[in-house]
């Protein structure tokens, strides 16, 4: 919340999609920072960067359906001293423009902000070509790049503002919109790289990101009622750099961790968390939940989440499963708990 001054209220956040909030915040930032420029590839309306384009037409460029060129041009604009916000669907930002993002923007460590919309399976019926279930895995491997997956529209606002404090590339992955609100207000201390505890707990930790955060919170409440389980829920909005401290603390406090993401189980949040656990050498029951390593089904977003067991029912099922999972305690177990 570095750049202050909201122009909408929580009531609006219920009606506005993540994309619309992004559009509004970008307009707001555009007033403050004359160096911000907006780039689109024939998706000005779909990604809502068009709102910025209407307000600042001379600072807005549409390249037609040419994502590779758009990312390369973005690098050039950043080198010229401007701050490009580059928007397209997550599938095209991470895959079509992949090398242009990696080599032109990340390798040269340029101050470009990528707003990747329609992340995960949020574009449901459009089908697999329009699902981005590999993007986090791909862009997480780009050095210099910060990767953020906001949980709702309010967090999107926070992330878009906060990325202005970073003098380097940032990838913000949002949904198609229609994702329900998780936060009551935007004042919960959003900080890049710091997980947010959404629900306290001591028996098991659920680490979620993006659209799965709301489901994790709902599941934690149900599990408390029905199973008398104390479920800690962490919103890991920053996938890179990952909040190692929060993960280690979860290992030591709860010794059971399950991750949830709208992404292939390979290479995304789950893998990032697993790396930290493995390197810690501490014993921990662990389970990654996400899209299995196969191409996604066609369907409404909520049904696809359900099918892949990353909705509320899925979180409940997986948490119950991990409570019965055996694992070996490490030597200094007693010292730490």
């Amino acid at each position: 919340m570095s750049s202050g001054g909201v122009t909408w209220n929580v009531y609006d956040a219920d009606k506005l999609t993540q994309r619309e909030i992004y559009g509004l915040v970008l307009c707001e930032l555009g007033e403050r920072y004359p160096k911000i420029v907006g780039l689109s590839a024939d998706l000005a309306q779909s990604t809502k960067i068009g709102m910025f384009g209407e307000k600042f037409p001379e600072r807005f460029f549409n390249f037609g359906i040419a994502e590779q060129n758009m990312f390369g041009v973005g690098a050039g604009l950043a080198k010229a001293g401007l701050i490009p916000f580059i928007s397209t669907f997550s599938a095209f930002a991470s895959m079509r423009a992949c090398e242009f993002l990696r080599t032109d923007i990340c390798y040269q460590n340029l101050n470009c902000k990528i707003i990747a919309t329609h992340g995960g399976t949020s574009f449901g019926p459009a089908g697999t070509t329009h699902h981005a279930t590999e993007d986090l895995s791909i862009v997480r491997a780009f050095a210099n790049l910060i990767v953020i997956v906001p949980a709702d529209a309010l967090e999107t606002a926070n992330a878009v503002r906060a990325c202005m404090d970073i003098n380097g590339p940032v990838y913000i992955r949002i949904g198609r919109g229609f994702e329900p609100r998780v936060y009551e207000s935007e004042d919960y201390g959003f900080q890049i790289g710091k997980a947010v505890e959404m629900h306290p707990g001591t028996d098991v930790t659920v680490i979620a990101t993006g659209v799965t955060v709301l489901h994790a919170v709902q599941a934690a409440k149900i599990l408390k009622e029905d199973d008398k389980l104390s479920v800690r829920v962490l919103n890991m909005h920053t996938i890179k750099p990952i909040d190692r401290e929060a993960i280690i603390k979860a290992v030591l406090d709860t010794r059971r961790i399950v991750t949830f993401e709208d992404h292939n189980v390979i290479g995304g949040l789950g893998t990032a968390v697993a790396d930290v656990i493995a390197e810690s050498g501490k014993g921990c029951a662990f389970y990654k939940s996400g899209i299995p390593d196969e191409y996604t089904i066609i369907g409404y977003p909520e049904d696809i989440l359900h099918y892949n067991k990353v909705d509320t029912d899925g979180v409940i099922e997986k948490v119950r499963e991990i409570m019965g999972k055996e694992f070996e305690a490490d030597e200094d177990w007693e010292d730490e708990v």
Binding site: G64, F92, P125
Partner: protein
């Protein structure tokens, strides 16, 4: 294969039926890329009912002509044609867009019989079509490859990389179509990212470019007949069309790139179809 008046009359009837089905599926599925599906109706109808050598009961027939919808968002327009040709029962289209269905907005070749290539991300179809054409030549196969592109899609560099390679390898077994409806999502192509002089661009890339009226079956047949005889170079038909063609309230409106229709609009859309094409 000169076209007769009788054939033209029949193709017009079929085109009308294709449009009706596109409207129906759009109605019950919640939304489709209807504008660009309606603009390509005469192109696909000509191909599927006059030119393509295919066996709908045997979709994997080795010697079939290949059809690649490079503008994959025209999936609904392709799916209704495949159903009418008998690749699968038309009732299956009731599931379009539904959870667990074989039919999403962009067709999956591993789920929908008759689809040769999965497309949907712009600028992938023509490269695959070039591969199919090169492969046919290497294998001494008679089959031809037909590829339909969007005009906005031609912003993608990969289209021009493929165009260059098709000309380089003198792929005269490849026939391209550009559905030149003049609109993309954010507005007119010439405003968003100018393509003109478009015919000159294809010519400069080594193709024989044929600008025609893409809703006129006679002109389409003449162009395709020309291409079938043309040697030593790929041919592209620059088919001038109207986005939303046949539905008055959609014609030439970028907003109808994608949309849904309630029962009332379905009726209204169909009522106006009488004088289409």
């Amino acid at each position: 294969m000169a076209i007769t008046d009788q054939e033209i009359a029949e193709l017009k009837q079929l085109a009308r039926k294709v449009r009706e089905d596109i409207i129906d599926v759009t109605g019950w599925s919640g939304g489709t890329h209807i504008g660009g599906s309606l603009s390509m109706v005469e192109i696909v109808t000509s191909l599927y009912w006059k030119y393509l050598r295919i066996q709908p009961h045997n979709p994997h027939w080795e010697d079939r002509d290949r059809f690649v919808l490079s503008k994959g968002h025209g999936g609904v327009g392709h799916a209704v044609v495949l159903a009418l040709k008998g690749y699968f029962p038309p009732e299956q289209l009731r599931d379009f867009n539904k959870s667990g269905s074989a039919f999403g907005m962009h067709l999956d070749c591993n789920k929908v019989p008759g689809v040769d290539c999965s497309t949907g991300s712009m600028g992938h179809g023509l490269p695959m079509a070039v591969g199919l054409s090169l492969g046919a030549r290497l294998l001494k196969k008679e089959w031809r490859t037909y590829c339909v592109m969007g005009d906005g899609e031609c912003d993608e560099g990969s289209i021009w990389e493929a165009a260059m390679s098709a000309a380089h390898y003198k792929l005269d077994n490849l026939l391209g179509f550009v559905d030149r409806n003049g609109l993309m999502i954010d507005g007119p192509t010439e405003k968003v990212m100018a393509l003109e002089p478009f015919v000159d661009k294809w010519t400069a890339f080594g193709w024989k470019a044929l600008p025609i009226d893409g809703h006129d079956f006679r002109q389409l047949a003449q162009a395709i007949d020309f291409a079938l005889e043309h040697k030593g170079q790929p041919v592209v038909v620059i088919a001038k069309t109207v986005k939303g063609k046949g539905v008055e309230f959609m014609e030439n409106k970028a907003a109808w790139h994608y949309g849904g229709l309630n029962a009332e609009l379905v009726e209204k859309a169909k009522r106006g179809l009488g004088d289409a094409s």
